[in-house]
């Protein structure tokens, strides 16, 4: 039995769809991250699971029970809010114990459970303080404590780390993982930060605003590795990964028996092994346009004698053991949130001078400067291919 099952779920406000046709099945004990840019409906989806928003259409099952009409307070789910939402008039102890008090537990029992939770979160010495007298990180812990003290069926977390500074955020990520593996409670976690998504989730759902994505918000629901290595479409490919993937419009050209990718002045020959049927079909189409994606780390300094192209460096940042380098290609860039359902690539992106900045992450301590000529190579096996009409992946590596 799955912990949460969402089927054909939709949500609209005053005629505007926020969520449409969302299907997600979450297993017991998973740590699910909902990630996407603002307006993609991730918070709404979380609030629907919590029972704070009602459902316009579709079904929500929690623990196998149809829960559309179950009140928030009867769902036994706990939530950590972005603002933490600690009760300002209560001490830390009262904040953590409030749900137990409402549930009618005895004072002794409450005391015991609050102490246990406080100890596990390092809050023992703060129990008599009011939230106002706590630091951001401490408030965050109290919010988590308030959620776990109840032993809920599901944890919901709405951007819980976004109010912390960068260093604390990294620490808390580790604590979240430790907490999850210790308690094993099914968790749904909302964030706009793809790093959090990749580092925390057992599986990640990438969401997109309904206005630009057609039929549904969920673009892909998979493990972090899978999202990173086999993105379903241009949106997922461009959203996940930092620094972001270079996405460009290119042409597949058949020269002799072999296929070549042509990006303006840069041409890359594809090895025989990669020439799948899908690519052959794309090359065969009218003008052979295709969308390709290359992660910065997959571009390297060409080994002597390999397949390479020469280019001039436009900008360069030395970052210690690696360098971030940019150069230009004479072909249009495809924005990762390009709306393939409403617009077409050719009329929107072709025409006009299209000089695209491509960034590469070069390993080693290079002594390069802007305007230097350099010979670079892209491992053809690491290139992602997407259909230029639909933005969907074509037989990716």
């Amino acid at each position: 039995m799955s912990a949460i099952d969402i089927r054909g779920l939709g949500k609209h406000y005053a005629g505007t769809d926020v969520l449409r046709q969302v299907d997600l099945t979450i297993d017991e004990g998973e740590f699910i991250v909902l990630v996407g840019p603002s307006g993609c409906g991730k918070s709404t989806l979380l609030r629907i699971i919590a029972g704070l928003e009602d459902i316009s259409e579709g079904e929500l099952y929690i623990g196998g029970l149809l829960s559309n009409a179950v009140k928030a307070r009867a769902r036994n789910v706990a939530m950590v809010f972005q603002s933490y939402a600690l009760y300002p008039h209560m001490t830390v102890e009262e904040n953590i114990g409030f749900a137990l008090k409402v549930a009618g537990l005895s004072k002794a029992e409450r005391h015991r459970r609050v102490r246990d939770v406080a100890r596990s979160l390092g809050l023992e010495n703060l129990l008599q303080r009011k939230p106002k007298a706590l630091s951001g990180g401490q408030r965050q812990r109290v919010a988590i404590g308030r959620a776990i003290v109840r032993h809920p069926k599901v944890f919901l977390m709405d951007e819980p780390l976004s109010n912390l500074d960068a260093k604390l955020r990294v620490e808390m990520r580790a604590e979240m993982r430790a907490l999850h593996s210790r308690l094993g409670v099914t968790t749904v976690y909302v964030t706009h930060d793809q790093v959090e998504a990749l580092t925390l989730g057992t599986r990640v759902a990438v969401l997109r605003p309904i206005g630009e994505s057609g039929n549904t918000n969920v673009q892909q629901f998979a493990t972090p590795t899978e999202l990173f290595e086999r993105p379903h479409n241009v949106f997922v490919a461009g959203f996940m990964g930092s620094p972001p993937m270079n996405i460009l419009l290119a042409r597949l050209v058949r020269r002799g028996g072999a296929l070549e990718i042509s990006m303006g002045d840069i041409v890359i020959a594809l090895p025989q092994a990669m020439q799948s049927q899908a690519l052959a079909d794309a090359a065969g189409r009218a003008d052979g346009y295709i969308v390709i994606g290359v992660r910065p780390a997959d571009i390297g300094v060409a080994p002597p004698g390999g397949v390479a192209f020469n280019t001039r460096i436009t900008d360069m940042e030395m970052l210690g053991d690696h360098s971030s380098v940019s150069f230009s290609a004479r072909t249009p860039a495809v924005p990762f949130d390009f709306d393939f359902t409403a617009k077409d690539v050719y009329t929107s992106l072709l025409g006009g001078s299209s000089l695209t900045k491509i960034s590469a992450r070069l390993e080693g301590r290079l002594r390069l400067r802007a305007n230097d000529e350099v010979s670079l190579a892209i491992d053809p096996a690491r290139i992602y291919f997407f259909d230029a009409q639909t933005g969907l992946a074509l037989g990716n590596p």
Binding site: Y13, A14, T16, D54, S56, A69
Partner: protein
Amino acid sequence: MNVLSAARRSGKAHLGLREALLSNAVAYLFLAPALLFFVVFQAGPLITTIVLSFYEGGILSGFSYSGFDNYLTLWSDREFYQTIKFTLLYFVIIVPSVLAVSLAMAVLLNDKFIRGKNFFKAAIFFPSLAPMVTLSTLWLFMIFPNVGLINMLLAVVNVREVEWLSSPLMATLTIVLVELWRGVGFYMVIFLAGLVAIPEELYEAAELDGAGPIRQFWSITLPQLRPTITFCLIMAVIFNFQLFDAVYMITGGGPGGSTESIAWYIFSNAFKYDQLGLASATSTLLLLAVMSITAVLLKVLPSDR
């Protein structure tokens, strides 16, 4: 996201018909006590007042339908004319003076280099909390012949034995002075709250532009204070239409009915002469007057900065 949060703020949560009915029921449970008292003691009596204004009589004589007779009686009643005359005179003096004095006090006390601001503010505000009964009693004592402070002070400038309550004008002035005593602190506190909200940079910019304190008052303070002034003006109108206590305590409406306020006129007709119908007609006119003056003020005076 905006649509979403807007919808959330307005709380349009559609939970289906049963839940909608249920949430309506819960809300009305919360409202029930307030609504009950509102209907029984405000809305109901308001309607009854208007209905009763078309009836003649009172508790002893009984009520009988009389159409517009009450209004015609008022139209030709000399005492009612006197009431109107007094009310107009009273308003013309009290409203500008109480607002001007309180605004002046507020501006003086708002000076950021004045020390002991809170003491002065509290001292001047204090009388507005006292019962009008006490203020009137004290005032009667202040103007008491021979020993009262006011007459003593006037004697210093060689004005002797002012007859405070013998002429209509002096009696009106007496009431105005008590109401000033009570009102200045009240409006001053509201003005001070408005003044504090004016950004300091405006004055600094004006200072750099070479504007002196008086120029600054007219060009910055007054325009910035417009919503507060509007609010105070409306409050002053509504409050002063309720004038009763000072009349009851100090003049008893005299001399010769020259200081009868509208509330006094309603009170004495209803509970001294048992003319409840006539009192209701007066109440109805008072209601119309307050509503229309407030509406006009709200329309004429812009409430935004």
